[in-house]
């Protein structure tokens, strides 16, 4: 896969006949490096991307070697070991009115059983994650990557230091 094809895949612009080939074909171990290249070329910040964490979010290593979660707008969510949601802005749809802003009254959940939590980037106000959970449910820590093991054992090379 070349860089342009991967860029189209990321943007959802790959025509179906090409996407089908990608789906049915073998996975190229080189995909990750190409992926990082494409993503790094798209962000305005200088830090090295270690791992894409989600739409808009990356684990990066800064000049001092710290691994932090960063939005493509530049907003920093703090160390990767801490749930990035703890540095987000939150809207909880926990009433009929708030749920019915986006769902028909017959299509929504009952807020006494479940609420919707919307986690935004305070820098660009992109919606980064939605949780559907009962009131009082601990915030989900979706993914805690073991970056050292990933680079060493899966990719066979050390983690970039900066």
């Amino acid at each position: 896969m070349d860089q342009a094809t991967l860029a189209d895949l990321i943007d959802g612009k790959l025509p179906w006949h090409q996407l089908k080939e990608v789906l049915s074909g073998n996975k190229d171990i080189a995909r990750f490096d190409l992926y990082i290249e494409v993503l790094q070329s798209r962000v305005s910040f200088k830090e090295t991307i270690l791992l894409p964490l989600g739409e808009h979010l990356y684990v990066v290593v800064d000049a001092s070697g710290r691994r932090i979660v960063k939005c493509d707008c530049g907003y920093e969510f703090g160390p990767v070991e801490r749930n990035w949601k703890c540095a987000s802005a939150v809207l909880v749809r926990d009433s009929d009115e708030l749920l019915e802003e986006i769902y028909d009254p017959w299509n929504r959940c009952d807020p006494s059983w479940e609420e919707l939590r919307e986690f935004y980037c305070p820098g660009c106000w992109s919606l980064l994650e939605v949780e559907a959970a009962p009131p009082g449910y601990p915030v989900m820590f979706d993914f805690q990557p073991d970056i050292d093991t990933f680079y060493q054992e899966y990719l066979g090379r050390p983690v970039p230091r900066s």
Binding site: L14, V90, Y103, N107, W113, A132, Y137, P138, V139
Partner: protein, 737 residues
């Protein structure tokens, strides 16, 4: 509480060759000691002659697929024939699957559990395992999912020695439960689940026992369909047997024995390699929920509760590609038919893995061996109490596994394999069921619709989810022909089948759309109907990366309508309810409307002219809906996936009709999206404020009864989950709800 024994320490039968118990124990020990299936660390057959090895695989795989396709045309009930609710598998002597067919392959592993149960209970001694024997099982406590999935299993012999097993599963129209149908809602214990067959020998010398045929025929409401499906399963098993005999004749018995073992080990190795190829090591977490509002419905006093199912899911991927998933913290079993056995959860785990990580290669129990799991004993997902009801475990099982797709997708995202991402799936629910008598008062007809086998798939990482074309338990989703369903459900006609707007979860890529079917009761003397879906909560969880959950269900039916008068006057009649808040049903029909925002409906009497609206789920979304291409949203509105007002309020896209087209108002869309972004910044609060508010709900007792009870159960059943909960909310060790 009692549990059926699975003690492996029973003494083996006397004889020179190892007993099946000994073989199974040896296989288990070899795996534990070496980490390889039967200690096989080298795939010698594959290495020696790759083409021969793959040719044998292809021949057996083809035979299994052919068995399914052929058998359902030999003899099968409409539910099996119409949508292929059937699968077959070939097993090692110890009961590990080697090769499988297409179809409802979630049952490949459940049959494995049944075989292992028979071995562990020394069936070799009694009732004996001989060539020509036929066994039947549908007991969830031995590994099955629910009683309506019936297994037929035959031992395969070569020159007097058992060399494997063939098994087939078919889903029944009716299983003789307390209420007609295949997924009851009203049963509260085993004794209402219907006809139980607990690994019984039902045939010898290649013939079914007469007494068995009589008993089975009297134990369901649809004996003809039962007999047709049993013949179907037997026919398929014998097609598998003949295929194995052919391979033995061409390759030799020694080769085939070794091949079966190596194929399982290869399946295991492929799974581990896939993990390292496609995921990132670490810890992945999510949770799913499902509502059972029974307080005002249940027939049994003990079931009159509002229950919230809790399925926390933690996936740990290790340095060597090790896979371990855990549902530690799951809530308690219920006096409802939604309890699940460990075997059914294992089967569900396996069937999902075959759709995402190991959809090619050697799909067999090798992957099951490599997929470590913890379904905690004493919870709903491993109840270990055979007296409970297991009639419809799908109600909890299906939502609980949406989390697995979400978690794996986070790994795919991180590696750049965006094309493999899927955010979850809709609930294959609203199984309209019941039964009744036609106007002659004599002709019984079942209502056991399975068009739910085609709901919305979650959005992908590169495209929208499939519309009305996915079922998590059957990778060959198919809603079946309406005409065939009408043939069976002869007092219940179709007025329509069409997309249901607003069922697809919002996102940059939307979930697959759900759909609706309007049914009309006609020519009956009596009829009862019931169904279930989620309603108080969204199905499973949300989507991914800003994607929203698909819509929750509601129920609407209309009794004592004026449909006959409308027809006589040739006036328009409804085709559904595209917008429940501006109901086509209510505009066009007069009658007694029953409408609830719950998905659960207990058995209810229906009569001629009544209407029932079946509602099938959409899938969850992916990404921020404000990033969805406005032209795609316009196509959604034109295609009845979303209503125009939903396009504006959820996506910030303003559309208007222009002839036959739906066009985007670019300027209004720009303004709408800017306003929605501004609204986000104006109303969102800091995480600290959010945390304080949520914590206060707990500490001041503001939780509703089902939510509070869910936390109480999870904390009681899992000290580790309790500790995690208290730590997160900074509560003292002594805290209780």
């Amino acid at each position: 509480m009692t549990t059926i024994s699975t003690d492996l320490s029973q003494s083996p039968p006397a004889g020179n060759s190892p007993s099946l118990i000994e073989k199974m124990a040896l296989s288990k020990r070899q795996y534990e000691e070496t980490g390889h299936y039967k200690g096989i660390d080298q795939l010698r057959l594959k290495q020696t002659d790759h083409f021969r090895y793959e040719r044998v695989w292809a021949e057996l795989r083809g035979a299994l697929v052919s068995a399914r396709e052929t058998a359902l045309h030999i003899s099968a009930s409409p539910i099996v024939r119409n949508i292929g609710e059937l699968c077959f598998a070939l097993y090692t002597p110890e009961g590990d699957s080697v090769v499988v067919s297409t179809g409802i392959i979630t049952h490949v592993h459940t049959m494995s559990e049944g075989i292992k149960y028979m071995i562990s209970q020394a069936y070799e001694d009694s009732p004996g395992i001989k060539e020509g024997d036929i066994f039947c099982n549908n007991d969830p406590t031995l590994g099955n999912v629910h009683t309506t999935d019936v297994h037929t299993i035959i031992p395969l012999f070569y020159e007097g020695e058992l060399i494997g097993w063939a098994g087939g599963v078919a889903h029944q129209v009716d299983i003789g439960a307390g209420t007609p149908g295949h997924d009851p809602v009203a049963s509260a214990n085993r004794y209402e689940d219907g006809f139980y067959v607990t690994c019984e020998k039902v045939g010898s010398n290649h013939q079914l026992h007469k007494d068995w045929q009589i008993r089975a025929g009297l134990s369901t409401r649809t004996p003809v369909y039962w007999a047709l499906d049993e013949k179907c399963r037997i026919a398929g098993c014998y097609i598998v047997k003949e295929a194995l005999d052919r391979v033995i004749a061409s390759e030799g018995i020694d080769y085939v024995r070794q091949f079966m073992d190596e194929a399982v080990e290869e399946g295991r190795q492929i799974f581990l390699a896939r993990i390292k190829e496609r995921l990132v090591p670490g810890i992945y977490e999510t949770a799913s929920f499902f509502d059972a509002p029974y307080a005002d419905k249940a027939w049994h006093p003990e079931a009159r509760i509002d229950y919230l199912m809790h399925a926390p899911l933690t996936l740990t991927i290790g340095a060597g590609g090790q896979f371990h998933m855990s549902m530690d913290g799951a809530s308690a079993p219920v006096p409802m038919p939604f309890n699940a056995s460990e075997g059914s959860m294992q089967g569900a785990l396996w069937v999902l893995l075959t759709q995402t990580l190991i959809y090619d290669g050697k799909v067999n129990d090798g992957a099951y061996l490599a997929a470590g799991h913890n379904f905690p004993a004493g919870t709903w997902c491993n109840a270990q109490d055979h007296s409970l009801a297991y009639g419809s475990p799908w109600a909890f099982l299906i939502p609980s596994f949406t989390g697995l797709f979400r978690l794996l997708s986070r790994g795919y995202f991180a590696r750049g394999f965006r094309e493999e991402i899927v955010t979850g799936y809709g609930f294959t629910g609203d199984p309209l069921q019941g039964g009744g008598f036609l106007a002659d008062g004599k002709t019984y007809f079942p209502v056991s619709n399975f068009e739910l086998c085609a709901v919305g798939l979650g959005a992908r990482g590169t495209m929208d989810g499939l519309d009305a074309a996915y079922a998590m338990w059957n990778p060959e989703a198919d809603m079946g022909d309406a005409e065939v369903w009408e043939t069976i459900e002869s007092g219940l006609l179709y007025l329509s089948r069409r997309y249901k707007p607003d069922t697809a979860g919002y996102g940059r890529y939307r979930g697959g759309s759900g759909w609706e079917a309007l049914r009309y009761v006609h020519g009956v003397q009596a009829l009862q109907l019931y169904s279930f879906r989620e309603g108080r909560v969204f199905h499973g969880g949300a989507g991914l990366y800003g994607g929203y959950p698909n819509s929750a269900d509601y129920k609407v039916r209309v009794h004592n309508t004026n449909m006959a008068q409308l027809a006589a006057a040739r006036k328009p009649y409804p085709l559904g309810e595209a917008d429940p808040s501006d109901s086509e049903l209510e505009r066009l029909v007069q009658g007694e409307f029953l409408r609830t925002n719950e998905g659960m409906m207990f058995p209810e009497a229906f009569g001629d002219g009544d209407l029932f609206l079946s509602l099938f789920s959409g899938g969850p979304g992916y990404g921020d809906p404000l990033e969805r291409d406005p032209q795609s949203v316009a196509r959604d509105v034109l295609g009845h996936v979303y209503l125009p007002e939903t396009a504006e309020r959820a996506f910030g896209v303003v559309v208007r009709t222009s002839g036959d087209e739906m066009v985007v108002d670019e300027a209004a869309t720009k303004t709408a999206r800017e306003n929605l972004r501004l609204r986000r910044s104006a109303r969102a609060v800091s995480y600290e404020e959010f945390y304080a508010r949520e914590r206060e709900l707990i500490t001041t007792g503001q939780l509703s009864s089902p939510v509070r009870q869910m936390y109480q159960q999870s904390m009681h059943l899992s000290p580790s989950w309790a500790a995690k909960f208290k730590q997160f909310w900074n509560l003292p060790d002594t805290f209780s709800l």
